[in-house]
Structure formats: C-alpha cells, structure tokens
C-alpha cells in the first residue's frame, strides 16, 4: 500500500471517531448539519488527496458552502435555525479540513505536524462541547452545541489566564476530556506523520538510497564509442562509484526514533508522578534542547561571529 494513503487513513481515524460521537446528538431532521459536515468532508478529501482538478472542485464546493451559510444567516428569520445547523456541521467537519493540509503530497513535515496538532485541539474542543450538551438534554439543538463549543473555548482561555495570575482552582473544560479511545487514535495519527518522515532523504526531500532499493550502476560497454579512452581512463570509468545503501544491520536514524520515544514515555511517567511540575520541567527541557541544537548547528557560529569573539 502507498505510504501516503496509509498515513491519510491514520490521520482520519480520531476525527471520524469524534464525528461518530457528536453527529448522533442531533435530530435526524437537521439536514443542514449533515449537509455541512458532508461538504467539509468532501472538500477535505479532495484537497488532501486530489490533484489540480480536484482542487478546483474543492474550491467550488467551498464557495458553495460559504454562499449557503451566508444565505442562511441573511434569511435566519425565515428558515429558523438552519444557520446553526450549518455552523454545527462545519464545526464537526473542521478537524477534517484542518488535517487535510497534512495529507497533501507536497506539504512539508512541519506543516503536517502543525495541521495535526491543530486538528487534535479542535477535536478535543468538540468532545468538550459534547460533554456539555450531553449533560443537558437530548437530542441536542444545533444552536446549543455551537454555543457550547465557543463557551468551552472561552472558558478554557479564561482558565489559563487565571492560572497565569495565580488562581488556585481554575475551570479548564478541555482538560476534563479524558477519552482513552480518542487518545489511542491520536497516537495512530501521529504515527501517520512519522510514517511519512522516516523515509531517509536529504533536506531538499531527495530520497537517499536504502537497502531495499539497491541500484547497481555497473559498467557501460558502449562508452568507448563516445570517447577514445586510454586504457587508464577506461579502467577509471569502469571503477566509478555508484549510489549505495548502508550495509549495517542497524538502520540509520533508528537512534533518534528511540531517543524521541524515550522522551515521550518519560513525559507520560512524569505527568503521572508530578502533574503540577511537569509543564515546568518540560519548558526547561525544551529550552535546554534548543540551546544545544543552537550550539551544534551553524547558528552558534553565526552568534559567535556577530559577537566578534
């Protein structure tokens, strides 16, 4: 299977799970929710997997959705809560739209990382809003869900500001979301990002030789027709080196993956042992790592030159 197709499948899993949890909250008659969600999903799939024609279709669909939402907002008095239905559908489809940036073939690893992180944040907020709605009445009105989504995020921001100002018991609704299935599916999505990163390549995304694709250049037999080689030249030409993969049993780069896995595991352990100090330790650790990278890279040399030492 194509590694990009597999990665795309992994990216989709947590957000499909969230959609499966949230969409049943709404009455079957709220067609606007399903229409908006379906359109978002279609746009995401076309943007993420399609070629240039697909992108054109995605833009057309996008415009269509915008026109529909605007029309619904303008005619809100006549159509009741259609605007809320469409907004709720877009909110549920938002993680797909965001993560679609991560599926695209020519998108860099950094963009994939940010897109996935943002999509997870939105999905977490959706789960938090769901908790609020479920604790009230069912089936939920789209208006209530939209309101809960924005209220949850606002409360989260206020809680973070309260922490910064030293408040002892802030209200953090996103923190309350603890869904092991969602966490496991997110881990798989992260695995999708890594799957696309772990292929050896240069900084300009040129693939480096790996043992699985050993290419033997071999000596050409027709070179003597191109130039009247001397015997020494012919020998030198035939003994020219070819692209070779590493021959060791230990795959290059595995150390980094192991070190990163170790760091991630250590953070989980730390979070359970000392949850209060974990953020502080994490910030200090990241600062130390960044300083180390600066020293090891040429940026350190630039700083030295700038300081004139």
């Amino acid at each position: 299977m194509n590694e990009r197709a597999l990665a795309t499948g992994l990216f989709l899993l947590p957000f499909l799970y969230v959609a499966a949890l949230v969409l049943p909250l709404f009455p079957r008659g709220d067609v606007g929710v399903y229409f908006a969600f379906g359109t978002c999903l279609a746009i995401a799939l076309i943007l993420g997997l399609g070629g240039s024609t697909g992108q054109l279709v995605a833009v057309v669909l996008d415009l269509l959705l915008v026109v529909l939402v605007v029309l619904a907002l303008v005619a809100a008095n006549s159509f009741g809560d259609l605007a809320s239905q469409l907004t709720a559908g877009v909110l549920v489809g938002l993680p797909f739209l965001v993560s679609a940036l991560a599926w695209r073939e020519r998108v860099g690893l950094a963009h994939r990382t940010v897109a996935l992180a943002l999509a997870i944040v939105v999905a977490t907020a959706l789960l938090a809003a769901r908790e609020v709605v479920v604790s009230a009445t069912l089936p939920a009105a789209p208006t209530d869900f939209v309101q809960a989504f924005f209220t949850t995020n606002l409360t989260q921001l206020q809680g973070l500001i309260a922490i910064a100002s030293g408040s002892p018991e802030p209200n953090l609704p996103l923190r309350a979301v603890a869904d092991p299935t969602f966490a496991a599916l997110c881990a798989l999505a992260v695995g999708g990002v890594l799957l696309l990163a772990l292929r050896p390549r240069t900084g300009t995304d040129e693939k480096l030789p790996v043992a699985a694709t050993l290419i033997a250049a071999g000596a050409r037999s027709d070179v003597h027709r191109v130039i009247p080689f001397s015997e020494a030249q012919r020998r030198a030409f035939e003994s020219r080196s070819s692209d070779e993969p590493p021959t060791g049993a230990w795959p290059p780069g595995l150390e980094s993956v192991l070190a990163a896995t170790l760091a991630g595991s250590a953070l989980i352990v730390l979070a359970f042992l000392t949850p209060l100090y974990t953020p502080l330790i994490l910030v200090l650790g990241v600062a130390a790592i960044l300083a180390g990278v600066g020293l090891a890279s040429s940026r350190a040399g630039s700083a030295t030159r700038l300081l004139g030492t």
Binding site: C186, P252, S298
Partner: protein
C-alpha cells in the same frame, strides 16, 4: 571543524514541534504534550547524533585527486573527467559528492554527482564524460562533499580543492587537435589543396604506399614489414599573421555571438585555410598589450597551439592598440608577411598610420576586418529603444568609422564584419595570397 547546518526541513519541524507544544499548553491534552515532546526530541536527537557521527568532518578528513582527466577536447567532442576521494571518516554517513563544472559542459556519460552511503575507509570515484558546447577554458572543481543526516534535518559540507582546466578547442577539419606528443603525426597528402610533395626541404616520414616512388624509401628507418618514405615540401616562405583584438570593444554584441566570437570563428577559418595551403601561419592576440604571440609556423604542434590559443581568447577589460602591435611586429617579421587584423581600431589614428607606415615600407601587406558594431545587436522591439541604443553606441561606432577611413587613405583594405562572420572577405584575401604564390 565544520558545523552542522540545519536545513529548512529540520528547522521548520523544530518550530512545528514548538507550535504543537503551544497547542498542548492551550488544550492541556496529554496526547499533544507527548506529540510535541516527541517531535522536538526526534529532531534534536537526530541533530546531536549526526554532529557526533561526523565529528572531525572537514577538508582535512579527505584526500582528493584527479585521475586521467582530459586537458583538451574539441567543441562538441568529449573529454574524460574523474576524481578519487579517500575519506578519513569515523563512522558511516550519507553523503552527496559533487564535482563542480561549468554548465557549458554537457554530461554525456557517467555522473559528476553521487548520493550514497559512505563507510569509513572506502574510496569513492566520480567519473564522467563531458562535452563542451562552446570554445574556452573551463575550470573544474572544487569537489564538494555534503554529509546528510538520515532524515534531512541537517548537513555538513566541505569543498575539496581539485582544480583542473579543460580547454575546449574549436574543431577545424584540417587542424590537428590531438596532442602531438601523445598521438602519431597524421598521414600527409590527404588534403586536396596540400602543397606537400615535390620539393627539396625534408618534411617528414610516412608509411610506404604502392604508388610511391621507390627512390624515396628511407631504408635506414624502415624495418621488417614496415616501409617508410621521405616527404619533402616546396621551398615557401609565404607567411600570414592573424592579429586578433581582444580589447573591450570586441565584447560588443548580445549573448555569446559577440564581435570577438565572430572574429575567433573567422580566425579559425583563416588558420584552416593557411594550413591546407601549407602557408606559414602566425597568430597574435592583443589588447593594449601583447596577450599571446605565436610566430608563423607549420606542423601539427604549431596547428595545435594555434587552435589552443584561439580557444582561450577572451575579452580583456581594457582598450586595444593596433599601432602597438605594428611596432611590436616590425623587428620580428623576417619575411614580407600578409597581416590580417580583426580589430575595433581603438587608439589614435595618426599613431596607427605612422606605425603601419613602418611595416608597409618593409613590404608587408595588411587587411583589416573591423566589427560592424550595430550589427551585433538584435533589433529592439521599440523605435525609442533602438534610438537609445544607437546613441549609446555612437562614440564607438564613429571611432571605428574614422579609423577605417584613415587606413583606407593609406591603401589598406578595410572590410566590415557582423554576425554573419567574415568568410567571404577572407576568401578574397586568401585568393590574393594564393595569386602571389603562383606568381612568385
């Protein structure tokens, strides 16, 4: 010691890890904390491990040498280039090896680039066949070695000094471009215009063919199975000296088809004509100094040097002085010579006339080909642009016109050449030279 350079890919991923960390702090999601930590740790571990694996990586860690490289190649011919690199690495590393070469050298076979895993102690050899598309001297090297980390987050680069010069020589059918010291002298008598044959001056030896006069067999040089005959040439002191201006005005023109390039092309034609006719041919490249002087001569080595000098002709950023050339040549020309000058005729006209007077009194003849400077620029799309170009070029154009007029008053034929070259004019000149030989 060479330091790691973070690639945009590595730097961006590190930044993305930090952004993910910000998202994690917003949502307080353990998944995102772990994700961000993993990304940051992954990139930094890769950079640290790469820096450690490539410690000692620098120019001193490699020994590079050229192997059996060609020094000369005909334009559109082929040259062999190779470089062997012995490393002193401490551990294996992904490396890109690249031999720098001008883009006017087309790669015909092999590759000047290698992207490979490089184990310590293993030699790597780059070898390729290249074809020059234009004449000139081309500098090859340095050879770059770029060590990459596995995931493209960082690299280290060194430039190894492997200088080499490849001379691309225009290919004139009659001019022998092969290095005479490495290749046997070609068989004479194959040119329909050859003046070799009857005469008293010994010229060379060649293998016996059935139509040869047996009296010319060189018995002392002949061996079992191989017979040689002596070749003689006519006593002939006819000399043509081509004067090639490489001053700044000769850079007039768009692209590579400038005044000098057309002059070089014509000079090559003149050399070919002279060698075919067995005329002693000399070449002098000048600006306000003598850049290169090959006195009139014959023979494969001389032909090779003429072709080589033409191949290396480049515009110098200075004025030129044809008068200075005449003064330089006056004591050096042993016999009355026919001078053919490709020049923009810079300098003072009175001085030029005086210097030419000295040579003319000694029986030398002169034909001048001056560039039609306007003819070397394509027509501009707008009239105003064309007028502006005309105004810009007017001082130089007027100067060439004045000098040409002055020389004509002294009986010197001055022809103009443009992007179509000067072949027709040269044909006329050589018909005069041939006529004098027949008359003589």
């Amino acid at each position: 010691m060479t330091q790691v350079v973070l690639t945009p890919r590595g730097g961006a991923l590190l930044a993305a890890g930090l952004v993910a960390l910000v998202f994690a702090f917003y949502s307080l999601s353990l998944v995102l904390f772990v994700f961000a930590t993993f990304v940051i740790a992954f990139v930094s571990a890769e950079v640290f491990l790469f820096a450690y694996a490539t410690r000692g990586f620098g120019p001193e860690a490699f020994r590079a040498q050229r192997l059996e490289c060609s020094s000369f190649a005909p334009v559109n011919g082929a040259a062999f280039v190779a470089v062997r690199i012995e490393p002193n690495l401490r551990s294996g590393v992904y490396a890109e090896v690249y031999d720098a070469h001008p883009d006017r050298l087309t790669i015909v076979d092999g590759s000047p680039r290698l992207l490979t895993w490089w184990n310590p102690g293993v030699e790597k050899t780059l070898a390729y066949v290249t074809s020059p598309t234009v004449r000139g001297r081309f500098a090859l090297g340095p050879t770059f070695v770029v060590a990459h980390d596995t995931f493209g987050f960082g690299f280290k680069q060194v430039a190894l000094s492997t200088p080499w010069t490849l001379e691309a020589i225009p290919h004139y059918p009659s001019v022998r471009l092969r290095r005479p010291e490495r290749f046997p002298t070609p068989t004479f008598g194959q040119s329909p215009h050859s003046a070799r044959g009857a005469g008293m001056d010994f010229h060379s030896l060649r293998e016996y063919v059935s139509t040869d006069d047996p009296r010319r067999i060189a018995w002392t040089r002949s061996g079992k199975g191989t017979m040689y005959v002596r070749e003689f040439q006519r006593e002939n002191q006819e000399e043509v000296v081509l004067l090639l201006d490489v001053g700044r005005t000769m850079a007039a023109g768009a692209g590579i088809a400038d005044a000098l390039e057309e002059a070089v092309e014509a000079a090559g034609f003149a050399a070919q004509y002279a060698f075919d006719e067995d005329i002693r041919f000399g070449l002098l490249l000048f600006s306000d100094r003598i850049v290169r002087h090959l006195p009139p001569g014959r023979g494969p080595e001389h032909e090779f040097e003429v072709a080589r000098a033409l191949a290396g002709a480049e515009v110098e950023p200075r004025d030129s002085s044809l008068a200075g050339v005449f003064e330089y040549l006056a004591p050096r020309l042993a016999y009355p010579a026919h001078l053919i000058a490709f020049s923009s005729l810079d300098g003072d006209s009175a001085e030029l006339a005086r210097a030419w007077g000295l040579l003319a009194r000694s029986g030398h003849r002169l034909n001048v080909f001056a560039p039609d400077l306007r003819g070397f620029y394509p027509k501009l799309p707008t009239e105003s642009g064309q007028e502006a170009l005309g105004l810009l070029m007017r001082p130089e154009v007027d100067q060439v016109d004045r000098q040409a007029q002055q020389l004509r008053q002294f009986g010197v034929p001055v022809a103009r050449y443009g992007r179509n070259g000067a072949t027709e004019g040269l044909n006329l000149v050589f018909s005069q030279v041939r006529g004098r030989r027949v008359a003589g």
